[in-house]
Structures are given as C-alpha cells and as structure tokens.
Symmetry: D2
Subunit: 148 residues, 4 copies
C-alpha cells in the first residue's frame, strides 16, 4: 500500500486531502521543488498536461513540494506565488519538514530527488515511481492501465 | 471492422502485411506525406516514439504514405531516402493510387489530410481516428486502453 | 544617456558596479523576475547565451531583478538560490525598492514589465529597450552594431 | 574573393543571380539538402529567420541545394514541392552536378556537408563558413558586423 502523505499545508484544495479519501481514483503525485529547473521545464508541464487530459473523477493529480535544499528560498510564501505565476490549479501539498533536510513523505517513499512521479492505483497500491524526466507516452499508458 | 489497407509497396517489411495478419495486436497507423511539415515535425516523431515505447508483439506501428498532392515530388524513390534519413524503421506502406488524386486507403478511411493517426484494436475494430497534432499523453492512454 | 542603476544588492559581482564604470563596453541589461515564466523560459536563457557568445571585455551582461509583484516571494534569499539552480553566473543587481510597488530603476527606465532588455553603447547612450520575447538573431545584430 | 556559384536552376528568382550582381549586399548562403534532418529542423528555419529579420536591400538570403547523396530522391521536382510546403520564399539555387557525387559549388567551397552557412561581405569577400548547427545570436552578430 502507498504510505500516507505527511503534509504541513495544502494549496488549491478546499480541504486537506488524504490518499485514503482518494480511493477509487488513480492518484498521480508530482514531487517537485519550485526552483528545480527540471521540475519547471519538464515535471510541472507534464503534471499540468495530466491534469488537463484525464477527468478529475477518475484521476487525481497532486503536487508535492518536497524541499530538500535551499529551504529558506522555497517557503510556502514563495510557493504560493510560483503556483499563481505558472498557473498550477491542481492541489499541491507541502511535504512536512523532517529531521536533517529531507521532508517526511520524500523520506518515506525513498525519493531520490526532484522531479519524481508516483502512481497509485484506485485500491491504494503504489504502482510506479519515476525519477527524472519521463515520456508523456509512457505515463499516459501507465495511467490508462491503472484505470481499467 | 477496420477496412483492409490498399498498398502498392512496402518498406521496412520482410513481406507484405495485412490487418488480418495483425489480429491480436493493437495496430497504430500513422498516415503521412514525406513533405508535409506537420508530419515531419510532429507525426513521424510521435510514431517513432510509439514504436520505441511499446513491445512489437503487442503493438504494431505502421506508416502509411498517403500522397494526395505533389505526387511527382513524393515518389517511392524519394520516400525510401526519407525513411533512411529520418531513421524510420517500422514498416511503411505506400497507399495505392486512386482515381482523382486521393489514394485508395485514404479515401476508404475518409482521412481529412496528413498527419492522421488510426488505432485498431486486437480484434480488428477501428477505435480511434485523429487528424492533426495529438498529444503523446492521450495516445499513450488510448493504446494502453486497447491493450487491456 | 542611460540613467544610472539604483541597486540594493549585487550577486556574482566582486564589487558594486555602475554604468559609469562600464563605459567602453556594450552593456546588456536583462530585467527579470525570478518567478516570471517568460523570464525563466526565454529571458534568462537569452541572457546566458549573450554572456557566453560575447567576450566580457567587450560586452557586459547584467541581470536586474525588478520585483514589482509578489515581493515577499522573490526576496534576495530566494533569488540567490534561483541564480545557483539556473546557473546564472553574470552579475545580477537587485533593483532598489521604490514607493508603491515599482522598484526605482524599473520606474526610471519606464519598463512595462518583465522580461525587458536594455542595450547601452560604449559611450553610455541608451540604444534599445525591448519588452517581452525578442529573437536571438535580432539581439545578436543589435549588439554587434553597437560594438563597431 | 568568394568563388562564383555554379547553378543549374533557380527557384523563387525572377532571373538568374550571380554573386557579382549582389555586390553591395551581405550575401548569406544556406547550403542544404531537402531530406537532411538537420537542414529541415535547424538550417532552413534559421535561413527563414535571417530572410525575415534583415532588409533585402542590405542582406541577400540565398539557398543552395547541394545534393551529394540520394540524388534520385532530391530532384528539382521534389525540391519545388519542398520549398512550397516549407514556405521558403527566398531565392534557391540548385548546385550544378559535378564529377563523382559532389556538386560543383559544394566542391569549390570545400563544404563538409549540410547544412553549411556561408557569409560574403558587400565587397564579395568570403567572411565566414559554418558547418552544422549555428546559434542565431552568433549569426546575427556576424551579419551585422559585415553590414557596417
């Protein structure tokens, strides 16, 4: 089972979300840092495309701000402006700070850096974990496979 | 049922192919003209990505050269060099010339121009018909859906 | 004459710079905000290309962080991390805060937004002022013209 | 002095052109093959940008179709359709066939392949010879330098 998210704050969400609440949908988690070039150039555009391509009652697109460096530079105040400027409208969670510099959800999932993309099936099982750039063709196929 | 292809010549194929022979696989047909900018910039790269992303025992990627203009400029001699230069390695069929300027398979399928992308399921049913640029995310999802 | 910059802080500069000190060189000023998508996707890459293409004893490439919105989100602390992550190595000035929300140099030059690109000739004359995306071909030509 | 072009046919030109006739202008020659991917993706778009960016009474943009491979595939009939489809409106010369497979102008200039870009100053001197992809910033600067 995919471990629950540890979140300190949500943006673009009328209320806090949990993976448990999202059972029945495919959940796509885009883990990013707002000042990571690969996230800005590849990860966030991919997440926006996923959000636009699949109906929200079938696929839940979620951002996860996993700050593991430059913590003072990527605060929630800066993140809020980033989401506005880059027109990110899907829910985005701030990963809860952990001991050392790695936030808790990032640690639990063993993410190696940003961007990372996680796929969870409608039963709550962790089904894919990508690090770095991934092709839209492949992600489209993986999401559709979990939708069956 | 997807109508059979009318082909005057094959490239990159050890023997002539028919849709009937391909039952059991998802068949993806990229209809293109070698001098159509949208085909060179979008359609052919997409087809090459599909060919690379899915195993060939599950998904058959096929090009279809549907020349409906500049017929003297896009002969099989020129097409052969094009396929070599653009590193197209999947089978490519030359659509058989028809009355007027429209080749026969293009006419049968009612294609509106190039690039067009056709999806056929493993039972031989026509399942999607796109004209123009399509997103990799969407095509990846459609192919995976037919693979179920 | 190009008006002098009003700067509260410099990055990537061993000492504070003035336009007066730069007489004898073409000065290119890229005015940007670190969370402006057009700056990240077009303006900063152009500025990095200019910095790489022309010798630094002939052309001085300077960034100017002209924050006129989301002031709390684009502080010098965040800017420092941005410059590190996006590998910006030319000198970058923080435009000094002004009354209302417009910083002083931005106000003086009458800039309409970000990105803006300013060209100053070796005698200190303001010679071009672009707003928005500009072509590399055109900027290359304009810089070379001032170098004569 | 830049050697004269050896041309078998012109497109997009009301009459045959010679370098001698073009004295007084900077001449930019884009040597290409219509089925060379680097030409289609980089060289031709650059040439179109140059043609659009500089006034035609100052800068003469000329294409040169230097076919050194797949000769049967890239005939003037196919080239004509290519120029139409890719909206190339500047004059294009067909390099005259030579002994072996290398056309005559390509041989005379010692071009290593396609795309190649040649710059000639208003006095007819050969001033630059690039092979492969070149940056718009650099070419813009080089053209402007010759315009002085």
């Amino acid at each position: 089972m995919a471990p629950e998210l540890n979140v300190s704050q949500w943006f673009n969400a009328p209320q806090d979300l949990t993976l448990k609440d999202l059972r029945g949908k495919v959940v796509v988690i885009e883990a990013f840092q707002m000042l990571c070039p690969g996230c800005i150039l590849e990860g966030i555009p991919l997440a926006k495309s996923i959000h636009a391509a699949f109906p929200s009652d079938k696929v839940a697109m979620i951002g996860l701000h996993t700050v593991f460096e430059h913590h003072d530079a990527m605060t929630p105040v800066s993140l809020k402006a980033f989401l506005h400027e880059f027109k990110v409208t899907f829910p985005v969670a701030v990963d809860k700070a952990g001991p050392n510099n790695i936030p808790q959800t990032m640690e639990t999932y063993g993410m190696r850096g940003t961007p990372s993309l996680i796929l969870i099936d409608p039963e709550g099982e962790l089904r894919a974990h990508h690090f770095g750039n991934v092709s839209e063709l492949q992600i489209g196929a993986e999401i559709a496979t979990l939708l069956k």
